[in-house]
């Protein structure tokens, strides 16, 4: 039996972040004789809610060989050390979800267990005091991490905040330089093969026909191929994540200071993001249309800006959920066409990246066996569910007294996977990660503690240590971390020196 021929032509439909990320990564196949074509239309606006990212984006850029400073300069980019959550637990409350690890494990006992024990005795600060990213972000400071495990700076992790439109443009230049062919045009019609219902080609307005073997749907919410053509189906998660709209607006930077973090502020019927870039600030109010009118949501947004709005606010409509199969026949949906989760933990770009990574690992041949497809869909489902659970946690564990939304969130039945995590943590601060989880233990701990879930007990192994010695260790860790944070340059100064934005 001869194996089916390898894929020789890949067609990406839709530019924007997803399309150009896929195109840039797939350039690696071009030397093996694969053609990569991207079809997009300048007339179709792209959705740019995902301007903040999480640390794994660094490995995506590294894979492409992108220079960090050059990329920051060309995307109006800034550094992100974590997220500040304001008013989520209750009004006037604040916590941070920093990247990077908390403290150091002590003789095999998790740092947060030791911390919990001392906290009970009133001998430990809030847990942020033991995270170097949390201290640096609060101080508005930044310095690149180092790999030497002996250095405190190795406990750091960072991501970026950037203009998604400029990022797509940056990747477009990268991809076109390496042989990706871009075709301008709007898709008018998608014919299917009679034999098996696979996509045969896309036909543009004006009848230009673009043939391909593998099609990547990056058409955003329209899901032109995966849904409008292949009718794959949608699974709604709106019963857990009830916010269904966002009103967004850029605003002027309030001053020279550029915070190295994203802020998420809870309002009575949703929450508002604040993402600082070098030249402006991105803002948006995510809300539940059953609880608040569009006009009132817009007013809330405008009332909570720290700089003048730079245009009229615009409204986005969405529903939390996922495509039933992100890979169907010879089509793979990437980005918003494959699923949507609100940008509370800045995961949109990461989900695209992870889809690309899986696609490269499971690249089919022209036989399109079900095996690769099923594995891709299995991994995609697991990952989306884990991110979904993490986002639900923020809503569910609240003590807010205003707004029916927050009461409903507190009282709703949550997924079993999240229920198990909450039970184990609440009982004794225990934590088990599921397969390949995106958010590490330290992220879950930051949000669980931040949302007011303090474990009732701690690991009995922590009892074997002497309290005085532990208290001394913790205060040393805090001092070291605080000193390291204070010694860093201010974030805006570091940017000005290393990655000042240029007009592209």
């Amino acid at each position: 039996m001869t194996a089916p021929a390898p894929i020789r032509s890949i067609v990406i439909v839709g530019g924007g972040t997803a399309g150009w990320m896929a195109a840039a990564a797939l350039t690696r196949l071009i030397p093996a004789g694969v053609s990569v074509t991207l079809v997009e239309s300048d007339e179709i606006a792209t959705v740019g809610v995902g301007e903040a990212t999480i640390p794994p984006i660094r490995s995506f850029n590294a894979l492409l060989g992108i220079d960090e400073n050059d990329f920051l300069a060309k995307t109006q980019g800034t550094i992100k050390l974590g997220i500040e959550f304001v008013n989520w637990t209750r009004d006037q409350h604040r916590y941070v979800h920093p990247f990077g690890e908390f403290g150091f494990d002590i003789e095999g006992v998790k740092f947060h267990q030791v911390w919990r024990k001392l906290r009970e005795a009133g001998r430990a600060e809030a847990i942020d005091a033991y995270n170097v990213c949390a201290l640096a972000m609060t101080a508005g400071r930044y310095q690149p991490p180092v790999t030497d495990p002996g250095s405190i700076l190795s406990r750091m992790a960072h991501a970026y905040q950037f203009d998604a439109g400029l990022y797509a443009k940056y990747l477009r230049g990268y991809a076109e330089d390496r042989g990706v062919v871009r075709i301008e045009g709007k898709v008018a019609h998608v014919p299917l093969r009679a034999a098996d219902g696979f996509i045969e080609a896309v036909i543009l307005e004006g009848d230009r026909r673009i043939e391909g073997e593998l099609f990547i749907d990056c058409t955003g919410f329209r899901a032109l191929l995966i849904e409008q053509t292949l009718h794959t189906g949608w699974e709604s998660w709106a019963h857990w994540l009830q916010c269904d709209r966002a009103v967004a607006v850029p605003s002027a930077s309030p001053g020279p200071e550029i915070t190295p973090f994203t802020r998420a502020t809870a309002h009575s019927a949703g929450w508002q993001w604040r993402i600082p870039l070098q030249h402006r600030v991105g803002n948006g109010h995510v809300y539940c249309s059953a609880d608040i009118s569009d006009d009132a949501a817009r007013e809330t947004l405008l009332a909570n800006l720290d700089g003048a709005p730079l245009r009229d606010p615009f409204i986005l409509r969405f529903e939390a959920g996922r495509r039933k199969r992100a890979w169907e026949r010879n089509c793979i949906a990437l980005g918003l066409s494959s699923g949507f989760l609100e940008p509370l933990e800045s995961t949109s770009i990461h989900l695209i990246q992870s889809g690309i990574h899986k696609l490269m690992a499971l690249l089919p041949d022209t036989g399109f066996s079900a095996i690769e497809r099923d594995e891709y869909n299995r991994l995609t489902d697991i990952q989306l569910e884990q991110v979904r659970d993490f986002i639900i946690l923020h809503y569910h564990a609240n003590q807010r007294s205003d707004g029916d939304l927050w009461r409903r969130m507190r009282e709703m039945a949550i997924p079993d996977t999240l229920r198990r995590k909450l039970d184990l943590f609440r009982n004794r601060g225990r934590f088990f990660r599921y397969e390949d989880e995106l958010f590490a233990e330290s992220s879950w701990i930051a949000v669980l503690l931040g949302q007011g879930i303090l474990p009732q007990g701690w690991d009995p192994l922590a009892d074997a240590f002497d309290d005085d010695k532990l208290a001394f260790s913790l205060s040393r860790i805090h001092e070291m971390f605080a000193r390291a944070a204070q010694a860093m340059p201010r974030h805006e100064d570091w940017l000005a020196r290393n990655a000042p934005a240029r007009t592209p």
Partner: protein, 473 residues
């Protein structure tokens, strides 16, 4: 709160549990109760036992000095396992502890190897493993801690007599046995154990380390899932042969018509276990029945089953000790605070997944065997396998990728080494490997080979290392 722990079974599992809990709960009272018969706490698989890499650091953390253990237990070092007769009646292959080859960028070595094979250059994966080559030439030295050195590219396991291991663990725990088991008391849970002098021992939590007999867990409604439809061996015969000379630094698993023979070399002799399927081989002298499978709920009420009382999987690799070690770590991190807490359910979920993944790994050896014409093995090749394994096999056969599930004890590289050794070849390799020019691939492969052969030449013989550490006269 757990103030007292009772352990039934004073073998390897019992003393390892005692040592781990002694350290984790310094204030708790721990009572170890002996049981009748040989130490089958990890299964009736021979007087010698083998470990996977990772046990040595557990031992060090628990105050057991490696040299002292090996001296007390006629021990030696291990670089992997040789498998003969599995891929075919005359074929053999080696599963090394450590990496095989090196990737180019993000393209894994076995994908590069597939590309080279497709271009007409046959090669064996083990020829690109330092551990495999050192094992073949009978050499051993501990790995280098310098990550830049090729001498850091492997790990090692240990071979030892289980009686010596149990004794060293007991000494490290600082405990003595509380008496000999007569019977367990209590219906819904275990309230106490009556020992031979008629006294009763009580405890808040019981650990059943009594092996397949499962003296405590077997009394409770803990369930048992049989794996006999996939793992056909249902008899084991233990043996010991006196042998002079230097033991080889690897274990051996040799398949024959009716099953397979395990050999773990020790100083002064070989520990053997014959595993066979009674439907295909006449009853052998000294055989004991074995039931492969796992307890549905290893933690039931106030009893936690450990070792062979929790799961029995034939010892193709040193996984039985590793499962015990992981179970203890998991148990300690989940020691309950309240009677109806979520901990037992979580413990059982994780423990069951881990055992099921080891089960799949063991079944893999049968399902992919190449012994055509032997009824036992023909049947094993044709059998349907668990869905989790079927998915792995399908994906590998299609393109040389392996899905990873939760709680895998064996990593993808080890799966690939077994699959490749058994002669399973993916239909297609990674498309990224095609983007690398063939001369570059060939140069990459020969450079790795040269570096490894050069490094092995400089390593001492296993016998020299054993003598230097006072393990061999």
């Amino acid at each position: 709160m757990i103030r007292s722990i009772g352990i039934v079974g004073a073998g390897v599992a019992g003393w390892m549990a005692a040592l781990a809990l002694r350290r984790a709960l310094p204030g708790a009272r721990i009572s170890v109760i002996e049981t009748e018969g040989p130490d089958w706490s990890l299964g009736p698989f021979g007087p010698g036992e083998a470990s996977l890499p990772g046990l040595e650091s557990w031992l060090a953390d628990h105050g057991v000095e490696e040299g002292a253990l090996l001296r007390a237990a006629r021990g030696g070092f291990s670089l992997g396992t040789a498998f003969s007769g599995w891929a075919g009646q005359e074929a053999d292959w080696f599963l090394p502890f450590g990496t095989i080859g090196a990737p180019i960028g993000t393209v894994a070595f076995h994908q590069l190897a597939a590309r080279l094979r497709a271009a007409g250059h046959p090669l064996r994966l083990a020829d690109f493993s330092l551990a495999a080559i050192a094992a073949a030439s009978g050499r051993f030295a501990r790995p280098s801690p310098d990550p830049r050195s090729v001498l850091s590219s492997y790990g090692y396991g240990l071979h030892f007599a289980r009686a010596g291991l149990a004794e060293v663990l007991r000494l490290a725990s600082g405990l003595a046995t509380a008496g000999r088991f007569r019977r367990a008391l209590g219906d819904a849970g275990i309230t106490a154990i009556e020992i031979e002098d008629g006294a009763q021992v009580s405890a808040d939590l019981w650990l059943d380390c009594s092996g397949p007999a499962a003296l405590l867990a077997g009394r409770l409604d803990s369930g048992w899932e049989s794996w006999s439809e996939w793992l056909p061996c249902d008899r084991a015969v233990e043996s010991w042969n006196e042998v002079e000379g230097v033991p080889p630094p690897y274990a051996h698993a040799g398949a024959f018509e009716g099953g397979w023979q395990r050999t773990v070399p020790l100083v002064g002799g070989q520990s053997g276990a014959l595993l066979y399927a009674s439907a295909f081989l006449a009853e052998q002298p000294g055989a004991v029945p074995i039931a492969q499978g796992r307890r549905t709920r290893a933690w039931t009420g106030n009893v936690v089953a450990l070792g062979a009382a929790a799961a029995l999987v034939e010892p193709l690799h040193g996984h039985n000790l590793a499962l015990l070690q992981n179970a203890l770590t998991r148990l300690i991190s989940l020691l309950p605070t309240a009677p109806d807490g979520p901990e037992p359910a979580e413990y059982n979920r994780l423990t069951a997944s881990e055992a099921d993944r080891v089960r799949d790994f063991a079944i893999l050896h049968y399902k992919t065997n190449g012994r055509a014409g032997d009824p036992l093995w023909d049947q094993a090749r044709a059998m349907p396998v668990p869905e989790t394994l079927a998915h792995k096999l399908d994906l590998y056969a299609s393109r040389g990728r392996l899905p990873v599930y939760d709680e895998e004890l064996f990593d993808p590289e080890e799966w690939i080494a077994v699959l490749d050794g058994q002669g399973v070849r993916p239909r297609r390799h990674d498309a990224l490997a095609d983007a690398i020019p063939e001369p570059q691939l060939r140069a990459h492969a020969s450079r790795i080979r040269e570096v490894i052969v050069d490094a092995v030449r400089g390593m001492p013989h296993h016998g020299a290392t054993l003598r230097e550490e006072g393990l061999l006269a």
